[in-house]
């Protein structure tokens, strides 16, 4: 502590020398707002808005899509398109607004959408949206008139409007030979400056077609430390800070909101002893979810039974949550052992450092719970790159039995964005190869309306109750700290979108 005094005295001395010159605590003017996030954005290209770092700055601030998803129920609502209908199985028609201009002066029309959609699917650009949301389908757009657009697909795409909510439309002047660092969109804000390593500045766009935002100047900055982000709101340096760790987010300014993420452990069901159903059930019964929530996980996190939260179309509300029953887990293991299943074999728990706040602590607790139930589990915390090697195929044939910590987000609002990759034989992250489940997911993906919902609900039930290849943990929340004099309610989309136009000072 003596050291602290030494440094303290020195800093204090320097601080007093400089104090008169500093105006750091002055509250921001009523049309200025600073938001602090975790990471610098990557390209700021409209076609990379599947990345939350990019999307938070761009989506509905700088660039807009044809439609939006309602945060309340996931339904599709108008944005740059005013209406849409399915013309035939492979064709959708969109009617576009006629009063919209891009920030660079170009007019928004059907041709601009054609160009943006083409660009998003260009393999040379490796756009996030093309690789994730639009994956596996060819979308061909055609301008019938400046305000009428046809989008044709090579296979039936019952939720095409949902997919279009992810395709941000940049100006036709956006370069085609690389990612853009200076996006021009149609949104309420245009990019004023991007100072690499420091900040992105946005300024309200006078020619915006919709309601004018209250905040005229927004600055987005990034700090890696949760404690620092939280402190910035406390000192008035920022008005909104995202992803505050539960231990830093205990004031009245901290708001927890569901973030469309579900944390779970993926069981590698191919390798003994995890290929035995009883062992996988025992894994689930060994976890004291009530003991984890409110301690390591935020108290508002909801116990999960499936890989998507209730805001997703196809969520099944009727699957019962696993009970905590270590005794039953032990007896299931004993029964398996009696049948010759090698239940004493070491199982590795692969975790990812920082996948969510307290991710290491959560797995340390889970490892202890598994040990109590008689499992021989070893924890290995990995950095993102080696963790991805464990997440994505191909895997070693000679691998150890393992369970993998992961978190699945679904902001697109439909189960099809979660299931095929993770739970079908061909899925690049799937540890399950079950022809029956493959068929269930394929049929659900093609269906529409109530039938689609029912078929997806059945698929989730089959995964949770029959196949059991996951240990579902929680539907997660994110904590945002919001200054007292600011009106802002983060919703389920806030993980991917800072709705600047909805923010104002009290």
């Amino acid at each position: 502590m003596k050291k602290m005094k030494g440094i303290g005295a020195l800093s204090m001395g320097l601080a007093f020398l400089l104090a008169p010159a500093s105006a750091i605590r002055a509250d921001a003017a009523s049309d200025k707002l600073t938001v602090v996030v975790t990471d610098e954005p990557k390209s700021l290209d409209p076609c990379d808005t599947d990345l939350s770092g990019n999307s938070r700055i761009l989506h509905n601030n700088i660039t807009e899509a044809l439609v939006n998803l309602s945060p309340a129920d996931g339904s599709v609502v108008p944005s740059l398109a005013t209406s849409w209908r399915q013309v035939d199985e492979l064709t959708w028609e969109f009617k576009l607004r006629d009063d919209v201009t891009f920030h660079d002066g170009k007019a928004f029309d059907a041709n601009a959408v054609v160009a943006a959609l083409k660009r998003a699917q260009d393999p040379a650009l490796a756009c996030e949206v093309g690789l994730a949301t639009l994956k596996g389908v060819k979308f061909n757009a055609e301008a019938v008139s400046p305000t009428t657009l046809l989008i044709k697909t090579d296979i039936v795409e019952p939720i095409l409007p949902n997919q279009m909510s992810a395709v941000d439309i940049g100006s036709p002047a956006t370069p085609n030979d690389g990612k853009s660092r200076s996006p021009a969109g149609t949104g309420p804000y245009k990019l004023a400056a991007w100072t690499p390593g420091q900040s992105v500045d946005l300024v309200a766009y006078d020619g915006y077609w919709g309601d004018k935002p209250a905040i005229k100047n927004a600055t987005i900055i990034w700090r890696a430390e949760s404690a620092v982000r939280a402190a910035m709101v406390a000192t008035g340096e920022a008005q909104i800070a995202y992803e505050i760790a539960p231990q830093d987010g205990t004031t009245e300014q901290d708001h927890a909101f569901p973030n469309a993420e579900t944390s779970l452990l993926r069981i590698d069901a191919e390798i003994p002893p995890l290929n035995d159903q009883r062992v996988r059930e025992a894994l689930n019964l060994a976890i004291d979810r009530d003991g984890l929530v409110g301690t390591i996980f935020h108290q508002d996190a909801q116990k999960a039974m499936q890989a998507v939260p209730p805001s997703v179309f196809g969520f099944n509300p009727d699957i019962p949550v696993w009970m905590y029953d270590p005794e039953k887990a032990k007896s299931l293991l004993a029964a398996a052992k009696a049948d010759g299943v090698p239940v004493d074999k070491e199982i590795v728990i692969y975790g990812r450092i920082g996948i969510y706040p307290n991710s290491s602590e959560s797995l340390e607790a889970i490892q202890a719970m598994l040990a109590d139930a008689g499992f021989n589990a070893r924890l290995e915390m990995l950095e993102t790159s080696p963790w991805l090697k464990k997440l994505l195929k191909p895997w070693d044939k000679e691998r150890q039995p393992s369970i993998l910590q992961t978190q699945i987000d679904n902001t697109e609002g439909d189960a099809v964005f979660t299931l095929p990759n993770r739970f079908t034989t061909d899925g690049n992250q799937s540890t399950i190869a079950d022809a029956k489940l493959d068929a269930m997911i394929a049929n659900a993906s093609k269906a529409t309306g109530d039938e689609r919902e029912k078929l997806f609900e059945d698929a989730f039930s089959y995964i949770a109750v029959d196949a059991i290849n996951i240990v579902p943990l929680f539907h997660m929340v994110t904590i945002a700290r919001v200054a007292e004099n600011v009106t802002y309610t983060p919703d389920v989309q806030a993980g991917n979108e800072i709705k600047l136009k909805s923010i104002s000072y009290r």
Partner: protein
């Protein structure tokens, strides 16, 4: 210092740099494939393979190395995957910030350590010496990370006299400088104290005292000049460490320097950024070493830089 000396040093440095860059090339590639990090997890295998081909990562390592070495010879460090710009441009934006931060912290630490270390040596064994000893040991061992967060809590949140973090006018430099100051200060106090005690007991100091030279003059002219050499050597080493950036401190304070850039580059498997940063830092370290040699010669005329 003659020009031939400089050339000889430069030739050795070039050899060392070639070895360093070669090992950097192979080591960063051993840490894993950037493609998985850059594409969404839902991307297909075909998309992953296409990106590997585009980046040249599908070719065998020796071929990749030859290509890379050719580019290096023309000082082409490639494009950063994350920043989407030439890696050296990004590095050259960050490097001056780190050099300034390190130079301020180290200069302050050196001056403070010489004064405090000398006071301790003069009072060797007394309570002042013991107090300074405890203080400097603590300063040398406290983690930057903890010190940074405590500084934010105390000076930004509680006292509200400093900003929490960021980059800008002098006020933004105080907390990062204070954090980076602690460890070299602690280390140097110990070194100055030790070599001063030795110098104060040396024959020439006793002679000077016997001739009637006064205490202050003996301490700060005769003895200090001799006691400074080890401190300069260690400061040179510390400066070399600082050239690589106070990574943790830069991350905590969101300070756009080379340490933060390098850490981000490693975590994001941004090979071009990692390699360009290592290259730039190595060149800076070369010049720091030359500078330390020159300082050495000017403090102690017996040392000749040839």
């Amino acid at each position: 210092m003659s020009f031939t000396y400089f050339l000889r040093r430069a030739a050795f440095a070039a050899l060392a740099l070639a070895a360093l860059m070669t090992s950097a090339f192979f080591l960063v590639r051993l840490t894993g494939d950037p493609v998985n990090l850059y594409l969404p997890v839902d991307a297909s295998d075909a998309a992953r393979e296409a990106m590997r081909v585009r980046l040249g990562l599908d070719r065998s390592l020796p071929w990749q190395f030859l290509d890379w070495a050719g580019d290096m010879l023309s000082l082409d460090f490639g494009t950063s995957l994350w920043h989407n710009r030439p890696a050296m441009d990004v590095v050259l934006e960050a490097l001056p910030n780190t050099l300034a931060l390190g130079a301020i912290a180290l200069t302050l630490a050196f001056i403070a350590a010489v004064i405090i270390g000398s006071i301790a040596a003069v009072n060797a064994g007394g309570w002042i010496d013991r107090a300074i000893n405890v203080l400097s040991q603590a300063a040398a061992s406290v983690p930057d990370f903890w010190l940074g967060l405590m500084g934010v809590l105390l000076f930004a949140v509680t006292l509200r006299i400093l900003p929490t973090s960021g980059f800008g006018g002098p006020i933004y430099w105080i907390l990062p400088v204070a954090c980076l100051f602690a460890r070299p200060f602690g280390t140097l106090v110990q070194i100055v104290r030790g070599s001063m005690i030795e110098a104060l007991n040396a024959t020439f100091v006793r002679t000077a005292r016997a001739k009637g030279a006064r205490g202050g003059r003996v301490t700060f002219v005769h003895a200090l000049r001799n006691a400074l050499l080890p401190a300069v050597t260690v400061t040179g080493d510390l400066a070399a460490q600082f050239a690589g950036g106070g990574g943790v401190v830069e991350v905590v304070f969101g300070f756009p320097g080379i340490g933060k850039l390098l850490i981000d580059g490693i975590l994001k498997r941004d090979f071009a950024i990692v390699q360009a940063s290592i290259f730039a830092v190595a060149v800076v370290i070369f010049f720091i070493n030359i500078l330390v040699d020159m300082l050495y010669a000017s403090i102690d005329p017996r040392v000749r830089v040839e």
